[in-house]
């Protein structure tokens, strides 16, 4: 990947116009979606009295929490200059395999016959996510294959394994730990919301204030330069891919718990939404740009649009068209308010 600089060859001899915070620039871009979100909220409040109720807003948060974790994972991977499409099938397969390993092999439960102890379900699930991420890393880094196509192949493979292992049926017999996470409320907010929130806060802090996190930007911005600066680029990228798999598996646990079962097509088509949220939120597909806060705003915006359309009882036949047009309008809006060209 040869990166050429695309500098706006400074038109003016940069006057020292005030020494500002180094993160200011990022912060400004971060806020790009805020006007669009505010407009949405105002419209929502006008259209439906339910919209601004605590109940509705916390429900929106809960509905978006699994998506948020996927977006967190994808955002980090994109910032580091890579791609991961396979997250969309990891979110279903990791819990399915973990559950199949712990439940009995009856026709109802679809276990694999191992019947490992129930408490292992969550650690196993995360481990499976890590393994998928690790395998992606192996193919991308050791074989130097394109991340897009490797993870697309992995997406198809892992989805296939999901259907194969589950025999195509939904799994209804969930371990109690899954149910707990999908169900429990901590301080009025669903556990899954807390988990997603904490993951984002940690992510934002690490990517803003730690060398390890900043190295993602360096790698995504210019991998040769990052190598030259002493960053172990392969190790970092690998870590991020593994972490991405783990986050997807965690998202799978939360989503499974929320829905009470895993269908054989869980997560299908979700990766589009994941990319939409990340890119709307300012993450560049070319790597090295964007912030996790921006990505989070992207998730929220998509969730609010969806919620609003439901509250307005939009005719199902025109749901998609209206949804798409709103997304395009929001894009143009955020472009016009920040004035920065997108990538």
């Amino acid at each position: 990947m040869t990166k050429t600089l695309s500098p706006e060859t400074a038109t003016t001899p940069a006057p020292a116009s005030g020494r500002r915070q180094p993160i200011r620039f990022a912060r400004f871009r971060d806020l790009a979606l805020v006007p669009a979100i505010i407009v949405l909220i105002i419209i929502g409040a006008i259209v439906s009295p339910t919209f601004l109720t605590i109940g509705n807003l916390t429900d929106v948060l809960q509905q978006q929490s699994a998506l948020a974790l996927l977006v967190l994972a994808e955002a980090m991977i994109l910032i580091a200059g890579k791609f991961d499409l396979s997250l969309e099938s990891t979110i279903g397969f990791a819990p399915v395999l973990a559950i199949a390993l712990v439940v009995p092999a009856t026709d109802q439960a679809h276990g694999l016959g191992t019947e490992w102890p129930q408490w292992m379900a969550i650690p196993l699930c995360l481990l499976i996510g890590a393994a998928i991420g690790g395998l992606n890393g192996l193919l991308i880094l050791k074989f130097q294959l394109s991340a897009f196509i490797v993870t697309l192949g992995m997406l198809i493979t892992v989805r296939g394994l999901h259907v194969g292992v589950s025999g195509g049926s939904s799994l209804f017999q969930l371990p109690p730990s899954f149910m707990y996470l999908g169900f429990e409320k901590w301080g009025g907010l669903a556990a899954s919301v807390w988990i997603a929130l904490i993951a984002f806060v940690i992510g934002i802090i690490v990517l803003s204030y730690f060398r390890q996190g900043r190295s993602l930007y360096a790698i995504g911005g210019n991998v040769d330069a990052a190598k030259a600066a002493g960053i172990r680029t392969n190790a970092v990228v690998w870590t991020v891919l593994v972490l991405g798999g783990v986050l997807a598996a965690l998202a799978g646990i939360l989503e499974t718990g929320r829905l009470g079962a895993i269908g054989a097509n869980m997560g299908e088509g979700m990766i589009f939404t994941v990319f939409a949220a990340a890119v709307i939120g300012g993450i560049s597909l070319n790597g090295g740009k964007g912030t996790l806060f921006g990505a989070l705003c992207g998730v929220l915006m998509l969730g609010l649009i969806q919620n609003l359309l439901t509250l307005m009882s939009v005719d199902g036949h025109w749901f998609g068209a209206i949804n798409g047009v709103i997304i395009l309008i929001a894009l143009v809006l955020s472009r016009l308010t920040t004035g920065k060209a997108q990538e």
């Binding site: 109940g55 509705n56 509905q63 026709d107 195509g168 169900f183 269908g263 509250l311």
Partner: protein, 327 residues
């Protein structure tokens, strides 16, 4: 046997010729059961079935699979096109090749088939409507999880449900939620709707496999999952009749489901495929297996299998496919 006769032209074929079977998808509970029943009945009915193909819910794949099956010598085809329009050309081609086709679950919009084996999806919608309408006493709010709008079965159920409600229970308000058969979307829509209208009284879900667990999960977490005798109980009608739905009916979590006969689909599809090879023909009218063959126009016949409404009263009926499968 309803009314077997001999094929016109008398060219009775070889009853042991190969029968090609294409499954529509491998990732849904209902079809999964169908997939399990097919080889069982093929053995039982002595059908020379080729290795089945699976079109992964894509009509292009279905078309390619049919080409491959006939290329390998299939003399009759059993398929379940989920997109009923886009197989028109394929049916035309098969007709030219004199290969009889039995379609399962869906009736093609266009083109000649030997027999359609399905239950009447419009009837599903009506049964659900009547059940809910009666339980609610003709008034109240009902949430309906629609399938994908591009699916004929989903559309039939939606239309029948809507027109039945309008006609018979004008006091009932229906919220139609498009879900694309996705549990996650149904769950979100139900949460939102319950916030907006805490007095929801009924739910109609067009597919139990996809919506059962998410719905129960939402109701449970919002304390809406109340026993049937509670005045605030939300009445739920499902569709498909998978074992989990039957279990939920027993527990009183949901109230009814329309059992879509996966076993009968498999059995009668293979039966008619073999009959076609034997050169039999059929006439409209009642059959010996509790169904009716109707002429659906175009010269096409449809064996409309019964799809019983399952409630607490008949949930333990051994004949229900959902009660056979986990045994």
């Amino acid at each position: 046997e309803s009314s077997p006769g001999s094929a016109p032209g008398g060219a009775a074929g070889d009853p042991n010729a190969k029968v090609g079977v294409d499954f529509p998808r491998a990732d849904s509970d209902f079809w999964n059961s169908y997939i399990q029943y097919v080889p069982r009945f093929a053995k039982e009915l002595n059908v020379n079935m080729m290795d089945p193909t699976n079109s992964q819910n894509k009509v292009e794949t279905l078309v390619a699979n049919v080409q491959t099956l006939t290329g390998q010598g299939a003399k009759a085809i059993v398929m379940a096109p989920q997109d009923t329009g886009a197989i028109a050309t394929t049916l035309q081609r098969l007709e030219q090749q004199k290969i009889p086709v039995v379609t399962v679950d869906t009736r093609p919009d266009n083109g000649k088939v030997y027999m359609v084996v399905r239950a009447d999806n419009k009837a599903y919608g009506e049964k659900a409507c009547k059940f809910l309408g009666d339980k609610l006493g003709g008034k109240g709010k009902v949430v309906e999880f629609q399938g994908a709008l591009s699916s004929i079965n989903g559309r039939d159920r939606s239309e029948a449900f809507a027109s039945c409600m309008k006609q018979n229970y004008p006091g009932v308000t229906v919220f139609e939620e498009p879900t694309d058969w996705e549990g996650g979307k149904a769950s979100a829509a139900l949460q939102t709707r319950l916030n907006q209208h805490p007095d929801i009284k009924g739910i109609y879900m067009q597919a139990g496999g996809a919506f059962l667990a998410p719905t129960l999960q939402v109701l449970r977490s919002t304390n809406h999952l109340l026993p049937p005798d509670d005045p605030n109980h939300i009445f739920i009608v499902s569709n498909d009749g998978i074992p989990q739905e039957l279990a939920s009916i027993r527990k009183g979590e949901i109230d009814a489901t329309v059992s879509q006969p996966a076993d009968m689909y498999a059995k009668w599809a293979l039966y008619y495929a073999k009959a076609a090879l034997e050169g039999k023909t059929f006439q409209p009218g009642p059959t010996d297996h509790g169904s009716t063959i109707v002429d659906v126009g175009n010269g096409n016949l449809e064996d409309q299998l019964p799809a019983p409404l399952v409630t607490k009263d008949n949930v333990d009926d051994k004949a229900l496919w959902g009660n056979q499968i986990g045994q």
